[in-house]
């Protein structure tokens, strides 16, 4: 009795109290409370608010214009030429980048998984681009591909592929392809990382058993490696699609959507509409459409990959 009293007046009071609280069933909610509140505040509320903005007029440059406009922005989008170009470019950009990244990532992972001496170091070096900021990656590649000073132009002319230096980002015919190359450089290590982890998870015995049964490397690859990696591939692709569709950084740095609208994608278009024109209502509607398209894609994609697994 007396001892309990002593305890509560010691400076450790609040900690003891928390310790006691940790034994109750409220503890778990207490642990979750801070992060949940924070996420509700900086994600959930803004998201809901974003839907509201998309059906309002909101231009910070003209405060007088403010009010409910219903589906006006969505209707306007249907006849907005840039929206359709952006949609098409987004599809091309994401599909091509992911196809290259998956291929390169797979090749890298298979090579790294052979565990030859030195592969650990190679693994670390190959991963580095993934951690570099888009701003630096963008300017670095702008320098490499520069029409006057670009070393890649010089190399290509040197080995006779090009006859003169080329302005990769200024030519509408090559601009999108050039940005895809940069994105592939930046993103393929992510796939290499995940595929390598997936490959390491495949039991060695499976290959031995297949070899005993007379299956060659190609059949082993087709019948063991690919099916065993299916979940990892599916997960990696969907994560990458989400981040590619959502992030305009690299294109903003490299081309700003130009020349013309040759490299304009939805995320960049929405960002510029908000950042340059302060037309928050229309930008909001664009991002809502992006979000819905992503959700649709994710749902269909997850269905499809589940179906093929069974």
């Amino acid at each position: 009795m007396r001892r309990d009293h002593m305890k509560s007046i010691l400076p450790r009071g609040p900690i003891t109290l928390l310790g006691n609280l940790s034994e109750t069933r409220y503890w778990v909610y207490l642990l979750l409370f801070p992060s949940l509140v924070l996420l509700l505040l900086v994600v959930a509320y803004p998201t809901l608010y974003g839907f509201v903005i998309s059906v309002r007029e909101m231009r910070l440059t003209r405060p007088g214009l403010n009010g409910w406009v219903g589906m006006k922005h969505y209707v306007a989008m249907m006849s907005d030429r840039v929206f359709w170009i952006s949609l098409k470019n987004t599809a091309i950009w994401v599909t091509a980048a992911i196809a290259i990244e998956v291929t390169l990532g797979f090749v890298a992972a298979v090579a790294l998984n052979r565990n030859l001496p030195g592969t650990k170091l190679f693994g670390v070096l190959i991963l580095l681009p993934y951690f570099l900021p888009n701003v630096v990656a963008g300017h670095m590649w702008a320098l490499l591909l520069d029409p006057r000073l670009g070393v890649i132009n010089d190399l290509l002319v040197g080995i006779g592929i090009l006859s003169t230096y080329k302005a990769w980002f200024a030519d509408p015919a090559t601009a999108l392809a050039a940005t895809i190359l940069v994105e592939a450089w930046h993103g393929f290590p992510f796939f290499a990382l995940l595929f390598l982890a997936g490959l390491k998870g495949i039991p060695e015995d499976l290959y031995k058993a297949a070899a005993v049964d007379g299956a060659g490397p190609v059949r082993q690859f087709r019948l063991i490696t690919v099916p065993m990696l299916k979940t990892v591939i599916a997960a990696a692709v969907i994560l990458r699609v989400i981040s590619l569709v959502n992030s305009p950084d690299l294109l903003l740095v490299l081309t700003g959507g130009g020349p013309g609208n040759a490299t304009q994608v939805l995320s960049l278009y929405a960002f510029q509409t908000a950042y340059r024109e302060f037309n928050f209502g229309y930008a909001g509607a664009l991002s809502v459409v992006m979000f819905i398209l992503l959700m649709l894609f994710a749902t269909i994609y997850i269905r499809l990959t589940r179906v093929t697994k069974e």
Partner: protein, 281 residues
């Protein structure tokens, strides 16, 4: 038979090294070129005939970016924003990760999935309302406001990554401590956190790098010197003063230096956490 399988193996090894060397060149070549450019004089960069190796090595570009622009201020702002972001994520995310990993409760899977779904939201979709909200409460152009915005996508990532590390920490020691009369809080602080120390460091470094590199939120939410971070500042410098390539390259090298160093130090644990989080998710 033995001979063919051995020569086949040798061919495979050679092919492996060829592939790895090519990929490493592809990955590091651009960075190396930027580094070389940062050491060149303007005369070696702007030439009619490509100068691969700098004729004279100069640190003039580094001096220029550091003394003739507001680069030090930008770096300081980035440091502050990154630190605040990491502190917020560690304080709140560790608790959540521990709850996810150790305490069974109703709706746990749903809440965890919710934390993951946050990544689906287009950044732009969150940025616009956040901008309006932050303007209302006076947090636009504030380093704290920007850090708060970063937690919107980094906190869930941190919680998921750390949960994986908590999962991997053995439960037995914790149970033993509890039997010895330690409270849940005591066991968490004295047993589980030290066990998952590496994971805590790796997850923190991962979000620190992400916050350090972030560009889009910073571009929208910072308007002046007071809070502008280096990616935004560097980008604006390029647009405003036609920054010479050498100076830009020096800025790039300086700003990725902390990333490369941190990555080199904790890459193993970070890779482990990243793959665990992504595959389980």
């Amino acid at each position: 038979m033995l001979k063919t399988s051995r020569s086949r193996r040798l061919a495979g090894d050679i092919l492996t090294y060829a592939v790895l060397t090519t990929l490493t060149t592809f990955c590091l070549g651009p960075i190396l070129w930027m580094f070389l450019t940062s050491l060149k004089t303007e005369a070696d960069i702007v030439t009619s005939h490509m100068q691969y190796i700098p004729r004279t090595v100069t640190f003039q570009n580094y001096v220029a970016i550091w003394t003739q622009s507001n680069f030090p201020v930008l770096i300081a702002n980035s440091l502050v924003v990154t630190t605040i972001t990491v502190v917020i994520c560690v304080l709140t995310g560790t608790l959540a990760a521990y709850a996810f990993a150790r305490l069974p409760f109703k709706g746990r899977d749903k809440i965890m999935l919710g934390y993951l779904l946050v990544r689906m939201f287009p950044a732009v979709m969150v940025i616009i309302p956040l901008y309006v909200m932050m303007r209302t409460v006076g947090l636009v152009d504030s380093r704290f406001g920007l850090a708060l915005a970063y937690t919107s996508f980094l906190l869930p990532l941190f919680a998921w990554m750390l949960k994986g590390f908590f999962d991997a920490a053995p439960k037995e020691l914790e149970s033993a401590a509890r039997i010895d009369g330690s409270t849940r809080l005591g066991a968490m602080v004295r047993i589980v956190l030290p066990l998952a120390r590496n994971g805590l460091v790796a997850s923190s470094v991962f979000i620190a790098i992400a916050a350090w590199n972030e560009f889009i939120f910073a571009l929208m939410l910072t308007t002046g010197q007071g809070s502008r971070t280096w990616p935004v500042g560097l980008q604006l410098m390029v647009g405003e003063f036609q920054l010479p390539w050498g100076v830009l390259a020096a800025g790039g090298i300086l700003s990725i230096l902390p990333v490369v160093v941190l990555f080199a130090i904790v890459q193993r644990a970070m890779v482990q956490g990243l793959t665990a989080g992504a595959i389980k998710g």
